[in-house]
């Protein structure tokens, strides 16, 4: 998951970033509208943008309008310091998906972020399941055949992303940027393979058939096939 946090007030920005990183997501941050806009100009893709409306540079509402007109389809959660109906309505009308009024509880922000991500991937249920594997997003609980599996933060983030995009081919670059942000996207892409390896090992521990398949030259796909297809690739 890639999240961009746009907030000018340091303490809040820091706290939000920490909380979202705790979710295992990759978080980029910007202290003003101009910097934030630059991320999109650099063709970076975010699943979620947390956007404060009162920011220096390009103000939040203008940035929001610009992003939507540029075709950015990230879900956008707006933070507003003033609990005025008008500013919230304006933000929603300008393309925001949700709002939160300052001061807010961090739990709420995180919960709304999760909900927006589910919506981003058209999932209604807070529990993502593929075959024997289930992931409860809110508390990062992973079960295989009802057995709880312990994953590291990286492994979990990787699995969560696969689960959200179940049935789709996910490129190594996408996976990398979700794990490490944009830094060194071109570099050692075998880091992704290493983590996929760890993840497979844990998921297949009890003789569970493979659900995380490799598509040569394209990336990976999370998919549950019946026994018949068990002799799959690799």
């Amino acid at each position: 998951m890639r999240v961009l946090v746009v907030e000018d007030y340091g303490p809040i920005r820091g706290a939000v970033v920490t909380a979202l990183r705790d979710e295992g997501w990759t978080v980029e941050l910007a202290a003003d509208g101009t910097t934030a806009h630059q991320f999109f100009k650099d063709d970076q893709v975010f699943d979620l943008v947390v956007l404060d409306l009162m920011i220096p540079g390009i103000d939040g509402l203008t940035l929001l309008t610009a992003l939507r007109s540029e075709g950015v389809d990230s879900h956008i959660l707006v933070l507003t310091a003033r609990d005025e109906v008008e500013s919230r309505v304006n933000a929603l009308n300008a393309g925001a998906d949700d709002y939160l009024t300052k001061p807010f509880a961090m739990e709420e922000l995180v919960a709304r972020a999760r909900a927006l991500l589910r919506r981003h991937y058209a999932k209604k249920s807070p529990v993502l399941s593929v075959g024997p594997v289930s992931v409860t997003i809110s508390d990062h609980r992973v079960t295989v055949k009802d057995e709880v599996v312990d994953l590291t933060a990286r492994e979990y983030a990787l699995l969560e992303y696969f689960m959200f995009r179940a049935g789709e081919i996910v490129s190594r670059e996408e996976l990398h940027s979700n794990l490490y942000g944009d830094s060194g996207a071109s570099a050692s892409s075998n880091v992704v393979d290493v983590y996929v390896g760890y993840l497979r090992k844990k998921l297949e521990a009890g003789g569970v058939p493979r659900i995380l398949h490799t598509r040569r030259g394209q990336g990976y796909i999370l998919e549950f096939r019946d026994e018949a297809g068990g002799a799959g690739a690799e």
Partner: protein, 556 residues
């Protein structure tokens, strides 16, 4: 609050007093006028009767006296039954005494003679000043034996007076030059002619009054006529002095006046009663606008301050009150709006650091963190708390108003500025700023050290916060004969065009730029403005060519 008494009561009492006094005065006036008119009318008619009937009465009286009758109804002329008569004569007793002494000749039965004779009537003749009386008819009011009141008209008939022949209105029996008469008479008596002598006139024509008796045509003696029955006929003359009195009851007159008085009293009482009912009502009605205004004011509260008082066309007396109230309301309303905006802005400003505190602590507590992470969080929270404290201090200072802190002393501007810059040294080096300082002749000014320190602190902080990184902050202190001034100037990019106008608005910040450290920048210049104002100086801001300059001028 001490009550100043009720206007309604005062007006009511004043109006009632006025009504009472005017009703009373007009009553007295009416009563007096009517009484005078009645008395004058009654006296006039009595006088007429007297003049018409006196000759007959005198003649009859003499006859009756001679016949030894004290009481005779013959004195009364025909058609005059309601009048009673008394005729007295100045009987000669002591020739040396010029004063006449009247004794009764005869009277009618109902004449109130007893009381009348007790009266001291003027005896006629010249008064002390030697001039003749206007009228020799004397009026008195006498109580009769039956207790009834009579008005009595008396007339002294001098010797020689003759029956009036119809022209008495001109003064025919008015003995003009009576002074002469008297002397003449006395003389005459001494001449041994006590009776039967007279010099008379008749048909006194116009101007006759001025003729002396002596100059009049001599007449023969009347002697043969005296004592003759049948009374004096026309042209008959007497050589004695008589006093003829006629009396008429004034019971009717008194009764009428009584009724009049009672009527007036009743009317007055009624007027007072009605007034007592009407006046309070009228006063209450008149004071209705006051109540309306008071109700309108009573409805005034913080929420309705922005509504004008709904008092259409107040009475002229109340217009000034309404106007000044309206003015007060407007001023209050403005102040209230300012306060409200300030409070709301301040709350919003405090909300941000509070949200930061909360977020930082919440996140730190969400899961186990390393010691370094905790330390970092606490350092951050401490920083936020400190800046909030500074902000609250500034808010308090603004709320209290800076004026009361005025305690003047000699302030060294140069060293105060140096101190302020020294306090910013850390921030300046972080941002790579340098200061170019021109202290002039290090002028001193008699002012408040506390406020000037605050001014410098806020100005330098503002400059350090908004200056471009690595740029130079220019500070200059200067003086003129009348005042001292200083400027602090910094390079700043992207200054909004309304910076100069809005720089002193509370909580306004150029570019809405909240860098981490700038939490109370918005209050800074507002404080500066208030402090400068308290010191009687002026402050201005110039924002042009990417340069922000603030200039403070204080009187020496």
């Amino acid at each position: 609050m001490k009550s100043g008494g009720s206007i309604q009561r005062r007006l009511t009492v004043a109006a009632l007093l006025t009504v009472g006094v005017s009703v009373g005065l007009s009553g007295v006036f009416v009563e007096r006028t009517v009484r005078e008119r009645m008395v004058a009318g009654a006296e006039e008619s009595l006088e007429t009767v007297l003049r018409i009937g006196s000759m007959r009465a005198t003649g009859e009286a003499r006859l009756a006296h001679r016949e030894g009758r004290e009481v005779s109804e013959d004195l009364v002329g025909p058609g005059m039954s309601q009048f009673s008569w008394l005729v007295e004569a100045d009987l000669p007793r002591d020739p040396d005494d010029p004063q006449p002494i009247f004794e009764q000749l005869a009277r009618t039965a109902d004449f109130p003679a007893d009381k009348f004779r007790e009266q001291e009537l003027p005896l006629g003749g010249p008064n002390d000043s030697g001039e003749s009386d206007e009228s020799e008819v004397t009026f008195t009011v006498v109580e009769g034996s039956n207790g009834e009141l009579y008005r009595v008209a008396s007339y002294i008939m001098e010797p020689g007076a003759e029956r009036f022949n119809g022209k008495w209105g001109g003064g025919g029996w008015r003995s003009d030059g009576r002074g002469d008469d008297r002397g003449e008479r006395g003389e005459g008596r001494m001449d041994g002619r006590p009776e039967g002598r007279f010099e008379g006139r008749r048909g006194d024509g116009p101007g006759g009054g001025s003729l002396s008796r002596r100059g009049g045509p001599q007449r023969g003696e009347l002697g043969p006529q005296r004592g003759r029955g049948g009374g004096p006929g026309p042209g008959s003359r007497f050589d004695d002095t008589f006093r003829v009195s006629v009396a008429a009851s004034i019971a009717e007159e008194r009764a009428f006046l009584d009724i009049l008085l009672k009527t007036l009293l009743l009317a007055g009482a009624l007027a007072l009663v009605f007034s007592a009912l009407l006046i309070p009502w009228a006063v209450r009605r008149g004071l209705r606008p006051v109540r309306k205004i008071s109700e309108e004011i009573g409805r005034m509260d913080a929420d309705r301050l922005d509504h004008a008082l709904e008092i259409a066309a107040p009475p002229a007396e109340l217009a000034p009150i309404v106007n000044s109230l309206e003015g007060a309301r407007e001023r209050l309303s403005e102040a209230f709006v300012r306060e409200k905006r300030f409070t709301s802005d301040a709350a919003h400003e405090l909300r941000t650091p509070l949200a930061g505190l909360r977020a930082s602590m919440e996140v730190a507590l969400r899961r186990e963190r390393s010691l370094d992470q905790y330390r970092e969080t606490m350092t951050e929270c401490l920083g936020i708390t400190e800046s909030m404290q500074g902000m609250v201090d500034s808010l308090l200072l603004l709320a209290k108003g800076a004026a009361h802190e005025l305690e003047r002393s000699t302030v060294d501007l140069a060293s105060t500025l140096e101190d302020a810059l020294a306090n910013r040294a850390a921030d300046m080096s972080t941002r790579g700023l340098t200061a170019e300082v021109d202290l002039g002749d290090r002028p001193a000014v008699s002012s408040s050290q506390v406020l000037i320190e605050r001014i410098f602190a806020n100005i330098t902080r503002n400059a350090v916060q908004y200056a471009k990184e690595g740029s130079e902050i220019a500070c200059t202190i200067g003086e003129s004969p009348d005042d001292v001034w200083w400027t602090v100037s910094n390079e700043a990019a992207d200054l909004p065009s309304d910076t100069a106008e809005r720089a002193f608005d509370p909580l306004w910040r150029a570019d809405a730029a909240r860098s981490d450290a700038s939490l109370h920048a918005g209050l800074g210049l507002t404080l500066v403005a208030q402090c400068v104002e308290a010191l009687g100086g002026s402050v201005s801001v110039e924002a042009a060519d990417e340069r922000f300059t603030i200039k403070v001028t204080l009187p020496r």
